[in-house]
């Protein structure tokens, strides 16, 4: 059985309690934060176990690599504290169940992992991906299953993720370019935290894109637009890749507006908040987030996660902001037509 590598002593010597002090959905001071995390580590009850909205951000806030969110998730599961309605959890578990219907291209040493996000199938086109395609995989068999931490269900991850890793091992690939943060987080953060061996080098698609854009530098026509970036929850599992957003946008002539809810302070798209906690929380978070984009003059809202894009596209468009995925934006910069109409 896989167990979480969590060191309570790291919390005991924590100088700032950032994991909870910086939380945007709960209010704790430094001493309370440290106290609560130690209590949680010791298996005691804590308001955190009931009030955490599963934004994942504490995984980033903890600069000492102690995985506070994974611990909260473990303890919730042990105590039977549900984050989501049971039916919603069941629905998501059913969706991710391997069905033997995965797709794979012509596999090479390096491949693109589309996880199980159908939207990505249309996104990966053109020059940006021509040095890796048609080497790709898509389907439940290659779906990281990390989303279940939203539902305080690590058991299903521990059951399925090793099989996913085994499926990759059978492909004998050396590098996997992950087109979704959650997959990259699974292979670079969660699997190691549980002592699972990852048989390849995971590469975040930000890094891949940045490299490709440098290769194609002569073809880049700066876009000269102002954009807000919608940071997804799962990027918190691999915050060391976040700098690439700015790096990439700089390369293609996109100015990232300096708004309140960005970088560490980014707000969730609201989808999980709505499913798990209802209208008010979702509405409040989405309204603050989009108002912030509007107030700071964003012309585009750049998405990294297709799920965020599904949830917020129509809402930002109604406020006069064009929704676009980062990959499409990069394709526009090299003169290609984006996969989705930008309106």
């Amino acid at each position: 059985m896989y167990t979480l590598n969590f060191n309570e002593n790291i919390c005991k010597t924590c100088p700032n309690g950032d994991c909870l002090v910086k939380c945007q959905y709960m209010n704790f001071n430094k001493d309370q934060a440290i106290h609560e995390m130690i209590a949680i580590a010791e298996g005691k009850d804590s308001p955190v176990l009931r009030d955490c909205v599963t934004c994942y951000a504490c995984e980033e806030y903890c600069r000492r690599g102690n995985h506070p969110f994974y611990l909260i998730t473990e303890r919730r599961e042990e105590k039977g504290i549900l984050t989501a309605p049971r039916a919603i959890t069941r629905q998501w578990i059913n969706i991710g169940e391997p069905r033997g219907k995965y797709r794979r291209g012509k596999i090479k040493d390096k491949l693109l992992s589309l996880g199980f996000m159908p939207e990505l199938l249309n996104l990966v086109q053109g020059k940006l991906f021509e040095d890796v395609l048609p080497s790709f995989v898509f389907g439940q068999e290659f779906f990281c299953n990390v989303v279940y931490i939203h539902f305080a269900d690590t058991s299903i991850i521990k059951e399925r993720l090793p099989q996913v890793l085994e499926n990759f091992r059978k492909l004998a690939v050396k590098e996997v370019v992950c087109l979704h943060d959650e997959c990259f987080g699974a292979f670079s953060s969660l699997a190691p935290a549980y002592g699972m061996e990852v048989p390849f080098k995971p590469i975040h698609y930000f890094e891949y894109l940045y490299g490709r854009l440098q290769d194609l530098a002569k073809e880049i026509q700066p876009l000269h637009i102002k954009a807000a970036y919608q940071r997804p929850c799962s990027s918190r599992l691999s915050s060391h890749t976040h700098h690439f957003v700015r790096d990439i946008l700089d390369l293609i002539g996109v100015e990232l507006v300096d708004r309140t809810y960005q970088d560490e302070n980014a707000l969730c798209c609201g989808d999980i908040l709505g499913m798990n906690y209802g209208y008010e929380l979702r509405h409040d978070v989405q309204t603050r987030n989009i108002d912030d984009m509007v107030e700071h003059g964003a012309e585009y809202c750049v998405f990294n996660c297709s799920a965020c894009q599904n949830v917020l596209s129509a809402k930002v468009a109604k406020r006069g902001i064009k929704p676009i995925h980062l990959i499409d934006l990069c394709r526009m910069a090299i003169g290609e037509k984006p996969s989705m109409e930008v309106s």
Partner: protein, 460 residues
Amino acid sequence: MTDIFGQLARIVGERFVSNNPEEIFFYARDPGLMPAHKPDYVVVPKTAEEIQQIVRLAGKERIPLVPMGAGMSLTGLVIPLKGGIVIDMKRMNGIIEVNEKARYVIVEGGTSQGALKAYLEKHYPRLRHSIPDSPATATVASNTMIHGQGRLSQQYGFNSDMVSGLEVVLPSGEICRIGSCALSPYWFSKGAPLPDLTGLFLGWFGATGIITKIALKLYPRKKMRDVEIFVTDRDDLVSDMVYEITHTEMVEDITIFAQPMPMIFKDNHHITLFITGDTEEELEFKRKMVWSCLDRFIKSKDGGFMSVPPVMKPTLLDMPQRSVSRFADVKKGGGFEYSGPIIPVETYPECARKVMDLASTYDLGYSAMARIIGRSHCMMFGFAFTFNRADEDMMERTRKALEEVSTFAIELGGVFWKPTIDEQRLALEKMDPVTRDLMKMIKGNLDPRSIMNPGNWEVA
């Protein structure tokens, strides 16, 4: 020997009468599971006057008459059980009048749902009717004749409740107007403040007369529509959830479904809510009201709103929903039939469990589906099974499952919707004898020769 074919040809024209085997074959059956029975003739009249002449001929010769819309009931209601003449109404497909301010439309007896929808969208974009989820070729008149339901049934009741006038050819051959149109040029009411005589025809499946014109109430069409799906694993809470939603009076339509495929829908019950608005603010206000009314179920973790991706919305918002056709081919071979009793919403858990039990017992693909009628006044619960038409054994298992549904539904307090002949018999047996005698009296007086769709609503 009377030349029936020749007389029919003189009435409707030779092109519009047939006794050719290939056409007789087609008119002998519907897409459901009921056994076929051939008519002797098929006619396709163009006017009410032609129908009058056909009815008089049939009366004189004592030939059974079966009026037919698109033949989509699935329960054999237009299968000519005793042969005779099938009157296919499809040439009487005109839209006669729209009274925009009084919000009603008058159409001919063979006008299809799709034609009316398209006409209103083009010419009266602020008006709509209650579109059922049957194929677009289903006719307005036949849908009200079976007390159909549609997109507006949660707000305004059965589609037959939205009728505001009828023109009927009686079994005597006379044309009769029912409602305000009997004494006024306006077709605004099917009865009130007069005695409501539509009950002599609606629900009778053509056994008391043939509808040649029908007026239907129209309702405001909002500029925007959206859909939300509330998911629960507690079938016993579904009626409570529906009660809360209907209390808000904020939704256009409520349907419920539970099915094992695709995987996203497995193990749960889905309450689909449609909301409308003329502005973003109106739509969002309604969304907030609906979400908030279910807050206690979200807090108790007994249910939640699922994420409905944009790619799924067009299918859900489609009118009629084409997904029903896709369900029909799950087992390949295109077979689909359901029994849909009208039943209190509180019986949802028993019905949902029964459909799953039957699917397991008879090894069938299934879908449980319900539409709320009125403010939770009742629901149509569809025990739906899919089968391969090339697989006789599977068809027989489906028949058996549906027979069990009939007994189950009536014992649970339900009333059959568009019942098969066997279900009509069951209903008549169960019925209060005085009510049954009243039906017999009505039928006997209106159709003394028993020529109108014989076999249906026949009280022994």
